[in-house]
Subunit: 190 residues, 2 copies
């Protein structure tokens, strides 16, 4: 089995240390796929968000068990390195192509198990909800979402598509958590 490619781009940029000292918590967003899985870690403290890391796990061709094992182990490695306290993935209900649905299911199953194994609760969000959290409308296109991810997290340069989707899911989770706090009667900071 060849060594999988694990790429980290966009090294931490701003205010990370401040957020860490301020009781910030990290959220891992995952965009699972059997060829490429994107991940993104953000730090959240109330209304403040900061980019921590993002990248892709490129899974080499091979037998399915080996590929899923690589995905599981590499995600475990990402979690050990960045210590998120929660994880979020995009929810999928249906898929047009049964064969693609099966492959996606395999990757999602492995990714969710990796998080559960690391003791992280995993939240799922529909694509519509993610777009709404980022852009304000569930009909936003991919470019708008990507633009908002870069803008909110103050990122420069190109962001890989899968990593951007993963970061968007993490930002959505941060947004939903604040919303939940507001409903629970806590002070809504943002």
């Amino acid at each position: 089995m060849s060594t999988p490619t694990l790429k980290y781009r966009n090294q931490p940029t701003t205010k990370l240390e401040d957020l860490r000292h301020d009781g910030a918590q990290r959220i891992l967003g995952i965009d699972p796929g059997l060829r490429v899985t994107g991940f993104g870690v953000i730090a959240v403290n109330g209304p403040r968000l900061a980019y921590v890391a993002s990248g892709i796990i490129r899974i080499p061709n091979g037998a399915l068990p080996e590929r899923l094992s690589v995905l599981f182990e590499q995600l475990a490695h990402v979690m050990a390195q960045y210590e998120p306290v929660a994880a979020a993935v995009e929810q999928v209900f249906v898929h047009r192509n049964p064969s693609s649905a099966l492959k996606l299911g395999h990757a999602r199953g492995a990714a969710i198990c990796a998080c559960a194994r690391a003791g992280l609760a995993v939240a799922e969000y529909t694509p519509r909800r993610i777009k709404q959290a980022l852009v304000g409308t569930g009909n936003a296109d991919k470019h708008q979402v990507q633009y908002m991810v870069q803008s909110l997290l103050r990122l420069q340069g190109n962001l890989q598509v899968d990593a951007a989707d993963a970061l968007a899911t993490a930002v959505c989770h941060a947004h939903e958590q604040r919303f939940d706090c507001a409903w629970a009667g806590e002070k809504l900071i943002s």
Copy 2:
């Protein structure tokens, strides 16, 4: 989250101790499903097979991450208890219904990761190959396969369908291993 139902039926019947002393190795067969996952463990020593255990993991309704976590943990429990050295699952290429394919993919992803995590190599076999190994023809129906599982492993009473499918996959793996040995120039015992 309610406690999942883990059922073991058909307690060990014959010659298990003999096989253990004789260098027998255990194979775990899994029939993954998001509602019910079947498993079966057999002991193999050359041409000799013996039943060790089988059962189903019944996964309670709930959020997908919780369900996959239950499946992962319960399979880990089964592996810790029965100490198989290899695992086998039925291979799936296509599925008519995209929604069912996605669910099956989730369960298969979790099951395969549980095995990989426990250090077990996972082999996949097509339904046709499993039927051929058990009944001698790839066109055999489910009842013939179930009959042969019970006959080969000398099992009495009713066997749950999912557990029987899992045992059939394990028997197929044992069969293929012998076949591989024969091709490698080793003495073909059976």
